[in-house]
């Protein structure tokens, strides 16, 4: 396993220490709960936005904490939900009379942990609501599973809710924003390689040298199909078509378009995919009002990418354009 790691059991607290050291004015943390929060939150008149899930998806979730985005986040071990008490402590640390909104990616482990934590917090009269994000079109929604997974579309829900909270919106208003974004955002990903959690030491799945997994989940969950690797344009078309028909996105739509790297794919490749996706969207008569090319929701060092489209209206576009500052930054 070719990774920078000391004791794999300390992987999460150690990189968390790095995040805190790199952002001393912005963030403070609690190592016991693998939790990071804004130093200047909670405040009484602003809703707090929190999230937490497994590690291995960085910059989600810890490195998305900051003004205009999350107010706090806790992370479990790599690819495993945080324990209930960490979720509970995160809610408590950000509790405010205006309320706490928990943005939960739709995985059973995350949902149960946050659900129980919310129950515990409510028992202490903390005002808290949950919202479930499920943007991944790869999975068929069905009564018999937890349903669609929450993947890179997560970024847009965080961004819009963070901006709405900064603007002083109420808990119910922000919940409506979350719902609107989630209803209008769709994602599908593709993996070229597997990845290796530090504590596991072996790849989470096997894949042939000439194969790709179309519709991959961010923990290596199987997707729609395992096929031979095709060229970049054909792959982009597959992702674009799956996403576009799902909402459906239509001619005349103003959209935000994201190419998200899963970890092991280079910026050059991501821009190459973006170029094709952009021209497909324009070819269908859509206007790409905002774009995002980079790593937003990763699966460790997996080579692969996902394509996300969000249908915009004036309100959401305003929230996307609002200022924000997080650990993940260039300058």
């Amino acid at each position: 396993m070719k990774k920078f790691v000391n004791d794999p059991a300390n992987f999460v607290p150690e990189f968390m220490a790095g995040v805190l050291a790199a952002n001393p004015d912005l963030l403070e943390g609690n190592v016991e709960f693998q939790m990071v929060k804004r130093k200047d939150r909670p405040v009484a008149d602003k809703v707090s936005i929190v999230q937490g899930s497994g590690s291995g998806h960085e910059p989600a979730h810890m490195m998305a904490v900051g003004p205009g985005m999350l107010d706090g986040a806790c992370q479990g071990p790599v690819f495993a939900a945080p324990p209930v008490d960490a979720c509970y402590e995160t809610i408590k640390a950000l509790a405010t009379p205006a309320g706490v909104l928990v943005l939960v990616n739709n995985y059973q482990g995350d949902r149960m942990a946050w659900d129980m934590a919310c129950e515990m917090a409510e028992a202490e009269d903390i005002k808290v609501k949950q919202f479930i994000i499920n943007d991944d079109v790869a999975v068929k929604d069905s009564l018999y599973t937890v349903g669609r997974r929450g993947v890179a579309g997560n970024f847009f829900v965080m961004k819009a809710c963070g901006a709405a909270a900064a603007a002083g919106k109420s808990l119910d208003e922000i919940l409506a924003v979350a719902e609107k974004v989630n209803n209008n955002v769709r994602t599908m990903g593709v993996a070229l390689t597997s990845c290796t959690p530090p504590a596991k030491g072996t790849p989470i799945f096997e894949i042939g040298d000439d194969e790709m997994e179309v519709g991959i989940g961010i923990h290596g969950e199987p997707g729609r199909e395992r096929t031979k690797i095709t060229n970049a344009d054909a792959i982009t078309e597959t992702l674009f078509d799956a996403v576009a028909v799902d909402l459906p996105f239509a001619s005349g739509d103003r959209i935000a378009l994201m190419i998200n790297g899963l970890g092991g794919t280079t910026p050059a490749e991501l821009y190459l995919l973006y170029g094709k996706a952009h021209s497909l969207a324009e070819g269908k008569g859509m206007t790409v009002a905002k774009n995002y090319v980079g790593e937003y929701c990763t699966s460790l060092e997996m080579a692969g990418a996902s394509l996300t489209m969000l249908k915009l209206d004036a309100e959401i576009e305003g929230y996307l354009n609002a200022p924000a500052e997080i650990a993940a930054r260039v300058f």
Binding site: A80, A81, P83, V84, D85, M112, D115, M116, Y144, E221
Partner: protein
């Protein structure tokens, strides 16, 4: 009507801890067949701490003890099992708040309440191939027997229910948890949660001298 006091509940929990710790590797191996292979480790990590803390924790009432155990699950049991087992202990604890002993009907109510809590928490139903496929019929059996049976008779009956659940669900496809992500591949593997529940009950039978001969291969290793 027979009743169980705090010390008896504590003894049962301590015994369950031993079962979970002893089967750490086996339970994880079972989870590895269709899931992510962490069930044994997740559970054993938490139950090792429960066993260690058990002598020290608040035992003013059964409810207080169970709520404290629920907290330890929330904190130390990873994966889905944390909230599942934590919810179970929490609801059972709330149903026995302030009590220093519980009658069998009361015990049946506690288990019923735990089962409902777990169903609400994880959204699983009977037939989804989770430990609820053992717990739901167990709770029904307890409710039906509670007024007339002895503790030993009831333990034998629920052990048989859980034992049966292993084979009855073996062929099913999982609809919840990690195992649901591999689709058809989860068929023909036993559900580790059901095996875990049945193993604890079977070990209780041994511990309390209740005569029971298990049927499922997983209990006859």
């Amino acid at each position: 009507m027979s009743a169980l006091d705090q010390a008896q509940i504590e003894e049962a929990i301590d015994t369950a801890c031993d079962t979970v710790i002893r089967n750490e590797q086996y339970f994880s191996d079972l989870d590895g067949l269709a899931g992510d292979g962490d069930f044994g480790t997740s559970l054993a990590t938490g139950f090792r701490i429960i066993k260690k803390d058990l002598p020290e924790i608040d035992k003013s009432a059964i409810g207080a003890m169970l709520l404290k155990i629920s907290m330890l699950c929330s904190k130390h049991v990873g994966g889905s099992s944390g909230p599942i087992w934590g919810t179970g202990f929490m609801k059972a604890g709330m149903a026995s708040k302030g009590k220093t002993e519980v009658t069998l009907p009361e015990l049946a109510e506690m288990i019923g309440s735990a089962v409902e809590g777990i169903m609400a928490r994880g959204g699983a139903k009977l037939g989804d191939k989770t430990l609820l496929d053992a717990l739901i019929p167990m709770a029904e059996t307890m409710k039906a027997m509670a007024d007339s049976a002895t503790p030993a008779e009831m333990l034998r009956a629920v052990t048989e229910v859980a034992d049966n659940a292993i084979d009855e669900t073996r062929k099913l496809v999982a609809h919840r948890g990690r195992a649901s992500q591999v689709g058809e591949r989860s068929a023909n593997t036993p559900d580790p949660g059901i095996v875990g529940v049945a193993t604890i009950l079977n070990d209780w039978c041994k511990h309390y001298g209740v005569d029971y001969t298990p049927k499922a291969a997983e209990l006859n290793r």
